[in-house]
């Protein structure tokens, strides 16, 4: 493919990697929207458009600055995510993968475990959309998250995630 931006085209998997979504999620979004293009290649503008249309957010941009300070890196991540959930307000459903976008490796595993803990504890609720799983914060559980973010009190079982 061309190195010139003008003629640069991206394949389905390249677009999915750039957006950090599964190809199937991308396909389902297109299927319910404008339809799939005849030729499955995309340019830079298409990717920017898809990012907006799919409601994608990057909760952990590369220049991210942590609000929470903690000497345990895993606990810091968990407290920071709690802070961001409260700050960003998950009162409206938002894509599950938004909360993880921008992190990778071990950090992603920790955050995923934490989100699963929040779902099992009914602090967050989920609903399925054809191209994603969406999460929402239960309004009466804000205090629990606030306690975690401030490091005041942790629900039973949570500590196992950062002590693993």
């Amino acid at each position: 493919m061309s190195t010139y931006k003008l003629f640069q085209k991206f394949t389905v998997s390249e677009v999915a990697k750039r957006l950090d979504v599964l190809p199937g999620e991308l396909a389902r979004h297109l299927g319910q929207g404008d339809g799939l293009p005849n030729r499955l290649w995309f340019d830079e503008k298409d990717i920017e458009k898809l990012y907006i249309e799919m409601g994608l957010r990057t909760w952990w941009p590369s220049d991210t600055r942590f609000f929470v300070q903690d000497d345990n890196p895993k606990r810091q991540l968990i407290r920071e995510l709690s802070h961001r959930i409260l700050k960003n307000g998950l009162v409206q459903p938002q894509r599950y993968d938004n909360l993880l976008r921008g992190v990778g490796g071990e950090e992603k595993i920790v955050l995923r475990s934490y989100l699963n803990f929040l779902l099992k504890s009914s602090i967050l609720t989920s609903q399925s959309n054809i191209s994603s799983l969406e999460l929402q914060l239960e309004l009466d559980k804000k205090q629990v998250l606030d306690d975690i973010a401030k490091g005041v009190r942790y629900p039973t079982g949570l500590e196992s995630i950062w002590s693993e």
């Binding site: 061309s2 396909a27 319910q32 030729r39 054809i130």
Partner: protein, 310 residues
Amino acid sequence: MKGNRQVRSAVARGLEETHRWRINQEESFERKERELEQRSIDLQKRLELLQQELETVRNSYDQAQQERSTLGVQEITRKRQLLFSGLQSENALLQERTAEYNRIEDTQNNNLQNMLSIPEIAKKVDEYEAFLEKEEALSQLPESYRKAILAHHDIVRQDLDPIFDAMNSPLPRSELSLTAITLPIFTESVPGDKVKDFVMILPVRFERYTHWTDGGNSLEDLLLFRVNGLIASALKKLGMPKTVIMEEDFEGYVLLDISIVSELSGDLKLALQEEVRRMNKQASELQVAQLLVEPVFLGSDLIEYDEEEE
């Protein structure tokens, strides 16, 4: 007396004749009885043979009935074998045609690269890209100067038309023969003939779902992508934009499990057929690789295995 001996009374003659009659009759009945006995023996033998034949027919009838009662299971087994061997052969076909598709795509890319490597063209592309990056800043310039720059770049853009045409022109079709691949769709209905759930099995290796980041532009990947899109499109048209589509591993191939979570506003089969028809007509990679997708609707019992059957 001598002459009188030949003279017999009518009664004596009659008695003698009666005696002979009796003897004749006895002989006659004796023959008849022997004949009847023989016939009886023959018939008895025939009866025994017929009874044996009847028994054989009855056994054959029972066997035929028994064999007939297993036709349903045999049909399912045959269909499963067909489907499984179909998945294998159609997957092999997809892999084979991927090589052909990539070859055709590479030819177009190489042609484009060759054009871009011509210094005069490369210079114009550089110039036009630089212009696009600064386009927004042009609004700050005096109008006459801005108009002159825009006019100049309109000409540069027009000079690049052959490159854009080369890039956007449809890929040529392969010379390989047009072949259809199956898209088995298994529907589970509830009373009233309403579809409750449906499942699709694709001739795409499950590892292409789990390891999609490796490679990702094969016909397997693109078919999986297209089918996901067509399901979403059909469901939206049927008034069910929200549902869950689960990817599962079926004997090493991708199975898509779709739950019907609300009332559909139309016929699911017709909607899916229409979407497949549209895909066949529009999907560039299928046309280039000379492939058609053929949906086949089947009952869900074909993929529900009992423990005993396994």
